[in-house]
Symmetry: C2
Subunit: 261 residues, 2 copies
């Protein structure tokens, strides 16, 4: 008979908790309870995961093997201050918060950081998401590795120090990239052109990183130092000073990176 | 018997000429000749396309139905000044150059602008690339539409004025995005972490634009206005002033776009 899987409480009901919770359930784990400060959020996610919910830290279920904290970084210590005595393993899911945040509050703790962007209404294949784990003892690290490996094919032990750089890189490669998609959409919408026109270009640009280093993959006016086109583009952005500043800074930076290499 | 397909001369042997030339050949067109100022480039592409080559504008083949100009924007008028008398249809492939660049030189002209990023060593599925066409007469527009439709499933007539905005949007969505991939790679490489770790995140971020508007798809510290994380990240970039400036500008811009909407 196989050992039954860990029972889990989710602290937080945002995008990360939603996708992680679903991955747990899909892989046979039981979510006992979802906690959120907001009743609607707690209830909604709990229903999806066939779990109980609470908005009261005093009522957190004490039977769980694993407590997964997916709350805003600033909220985490607040939650920890107000938790009752619990026995399970504590993990958070944040890129920029060191594991040591738990040290003053609990004996067994660690991190499961999924390197992915989650939106509630967009499905993702969780098995493809790289999970970065860390724990304060080798024993708990092994436990976490077993748990994480049930969810994803890519599990790596990574220190808090390295993880924070990984998170910083992710902000560039995901959040900032998405903001450039937004700027591009704005430009097209201003001309009554559909942003759909850009999809093949966006996908190919992303796909290229798998075969080419971004330095080799670069194309366009800045890498050619085509000042003629660059000046025309800056003029077109005369009435959009924010986009103009982004255009200037990134073009200069592309040019500098080409020179350096 | 079907009419035989147009015979083509390629003026230029860069990334666009390479991929477009290959698409022509794959679809049964004959490339008569490749011109480039650089003999190596002309020869290399000509061999690939089983065409002749020349570096001498005087020796441009006069039998072609279609002359495709894929040279740097600044070089185009130079080339046009020095061409012998020719009969075929002239088209260029540039985003930012108005069709009227041909007006002083030729009677039949237009544009085929492929909205894609091309690197010589990376294959692309040309049928998926949106082609934007324009011509100085309805008759030539029809001819171009027939030709372009042989190469791609997506052919749209677009004016020079709109095309230049499409090109500007493409610089944001492709060249600037790729530069952020580069910055992210730099951050990872500085920590001896592989840039491969980011692939699933990069692909999902790109994939999201198909189902979510980038404004809804946004995640991360800036959209949450998580000043705690933002300050930490800016500190981590103390010794990389260029990345720090990009970080600050894009985070502010994300925050502004959230407020506005």
């Amino acid at each position: 008979m196989t050992k039954s899987k860990d029972k889990i409480v989710l602290i937080g009901a945002g995008n990360v908790a939603t996708h992680l919770g679903k991955a747990f359930v899909d892989n046979g784990f039981q979510i006992l309870q979802v906690y959120s400060r907001t009743e609607d959020s707690a209830k909604q996610l709990a229903e999806k995961l066939q779990a109980d919910f609470t908005t009261d830290l005093e009522r957190i279920n004490r039977e769980a093997d694993l407590y997964v904290f997916s709350v805003k970084d600033a909220e985490l210590t607040d939650v920890l201050e107000n938790l009752p005595e619990l026995n399970g393993l504590f993990v958070h899911t944040a890129g920029s918060v060191p594991m040591s945040v738990f040290a003053d509050y609990h004996a067994h703790y660690g991190v499961i950081y999924p390197l992915q962007t989650f939106s509630k209404i967009k499905e993702v294949d969780f098995r493809m998401i790289p999970l970065f784990i860390e724990a304060n003892s080798l024993e708990d690290e092994s436990r976490l590795r077993v748990i994480a490996s049930e969810l994803s094919d890519s599990v790596t032990v990574l220190s808090s120090e390295k993880r924070k750089y990984l998170h910083l890189a992710a902000v560039f490669a995901c959040n900032f990239v998405n903001h450039l998609y937004y700027q591009a959409s704005q430009i097209l919408e201003s001309q009554d052109l559909s942003r759909d026109l850009l999809f093949p270009l966006i996908l190919e640009t992303a796909d290229k990183v798998k075969t080419l280093h971004p330095l080799e993959a670069q194309t366009g006016p800045a890498v050619r130092y085509d000042t003629n086109v660059i000046e025309k583009h800056l003029q077109m952005l005369e009435n959009a000073p924010e986009q103009q500043e982004i255009y200037r800074l990134l073009s200069d930076s592309i040019f500098e990176s080409t020179k350096k290499n």
